[in-house]
């Protein structure tokens, strides 16, 4: 498929088009969010083909259950990324996936994927990438566990061997750090 011109809509326009189930909404959704969603899915599901299957499932679920999204309760991406993360976790916890032995440790995942592929150079993201670099290691590890590996904060506390309160504080501090990008 030859690369066509990417469609970009405002979040309000996209939500309106999604509500009407217009084809342009599907294309815009893909152009605007597929890479972000695929980034999250790929760090949970390592195998590329399986991760792309989960991405497709994610789009189908977003499309079919869009009526349950409420713009008053949050951003569209927040709703979508939670769908993607849940489907990815369901996939790696499913019996047929476990049998294929495709699980890997998170620490390996991120470096593994970052070495394997060149992410697209985007000057708009320089600011946030600098801030990510400034995250303390313990902030980065908790953020990656809950955001990219789909751990609950309770599971993360178990995994890292620190109290729940500490997990919550570190998570908040990590996000506060990222927020300096647009403050």
């Amino acid at each position: 498929m030859s690369r066509r011109h990417k469609i970009s809509l405002s979040e309000e326009e996209l939500i309106a088009a999604l509500g009407k189930r217009e084809k342009i909404a599907a294309e815009a959704l893909y152009d605007m969010y597929s890479a972000s969603l695929f980034g999250v899915i790929s760090r949970i599901v390592i195998d590329t083909d399986t991760a792309e299957d989960v991405l497709q499932d994610t789009f189908v679920k977003i499309w079919n259950s869009f009526a349950s999204y409420s713009a008053e309760k949050g951003r569209l991406f927040t709703w979508m990324v939670n769908i993607a993360r849940n489907l990815a976790i369901d996939k790696i916890r499913s019996k047929d996936f476990k049998n294929q032995n495709k699980n890997q440790e998170l620490e390996n995942n991120v470096t593994f994927i970052d070495e394997k592929r060149n992410t697209v150079y985007n000057p708009e993201l320089l600011g946030i990438k600098v801030l990510v670099e400034k995250l303390k290691p313990e902030q980065k590890s908790i953020l990656d566990l809950v955001y990219f590996k789909g751990y609950t904060h309770v599971e993360a506390a178990d995994e890292l061997g620190v109290p729940l309160g500490t997990i919550k504080t570190r998570l908040r501090m990590a996000i506060v750090q990222l927020r300096k990008n647009f403050n």
Binding site: Y30, A35, G39, E52, V81, D90, N122, K168, N181
Partner: protein
């Protein structure tokens, strides 16, 4: 709620967990109610959401372009109603779950059938084992009987083989001319046997018994009592004695008497 309390709520970390979808349904409702009530909470949520969206963007990966067509083809658009209902009804995970539950159902049924079959087999085997045990017990009894018979017969054969045994046929007296009994006596072994197989003694009642006597230098010595038994094929061992001139049998009261009742002498034999 005071300003400080709202601030503490914001700083508790619950809003971050809400955005990550890591809250209980009750916590979710609480956060949503707080967001409606306090603009500070709503703004905080928006800031968290934006930063995490940017974080995802900073970590984005491009899927293979060939997927776009697949994805666009798997979505139902508003011009195609039949496809919509087809997709709405789609439940990808269900067949797996169903197959699993069927598997456990069949596995359970199979286990149950196996259990029942095992119990029946066990009862069968138990019944046979019991029969066998009974059979072994009755065979053991027979074996004992045979062994004791054999040892008795061995004793009888010894009497016949041993040259020290003397055989003496006691003959009937006037009161019972037909009576007779054979006594085997070994002075060396000090043993006295009577042969019940060839004995011809009139049957005695329950109050009386025959008593065997040895006459030693004219005096009677008690050698024990016996009953008339026409069916017996055995020899019966009596009390021992080393010297005897004659043997006699009298009919006495059951258990025997200290001295013989001469009027009731049935048989007698002398050497």
């Amino acid at each position: 709620m005071k300003v400080e309390e709202v601030k503490a709520y914001i700083e508790s970390g619950i809003l971050e967990l809400y955005v990550l979808g890591d809250v209980t349904p009750a916590e979710r409702l609480e956060v949503e109610a707080m967001a409606v009530k306090y603009p500070a909470v709503k703004d905080e949520l928006a800031a968290i959401e934006k930063s995490l969206e940017l974080y995802a963007k900073a970590n984005e990966l491009e899927p293979d372009d060939s997927r776009l067509e697949n994805i666009l083809n798997s979505l139902a658009y508003n011009s195609d109603e039949s496809q919509i209902s087809g997709l709405v009804n789609e439940a990808r995970v269900l067949p797996i779950v169903k197959a699993q539950s069927n598997f456990y159902k069949y596995a359970f049924a199979a286990s149950l059938a196996l259990l029942i079959a095992s119990v029946i087999a066990l009862l069968n085997v138990y019944g046979r084992l019991k029969e066998s045990t009974n059979l072994v017990a009755s065979l053991q009894n027979q074996n004992h009987e045979i062994a004791s018979t054999v040892s008795l017969k061995d004793g009888e054969i010894e009497v016949l083989r041993d040259p020290s045994f003397k055989l003496l046929k006691l003959q009937g007296t006037k009161i019972s001319p037909a009576a007779a009994i054979t006594v085997a006596w070994s002075p060396v072994k000090k043993k006295v046997w009577i042969d019940m197989a060839t004995a011809k003694m009139p049957s005695n009642d329950k109050e009386h018994q025959y008593q065997l006597w040895a006459l030693v230098a004219g005096k009677p010595v008690d050698l024990g009592v016996f009953d008339s038994d026409t069916t017996s094929r055995d020899m019966k061992e009596m009390k021992s004695i080393t010297l005897a001139d004659a043997f006699a049998v009298t009919l006495e009261k059951r258990g025997g008497s200290p001295t013989p009742t001469m009027d009731e002498m049935m048989v007698i034999g002398k050497f």
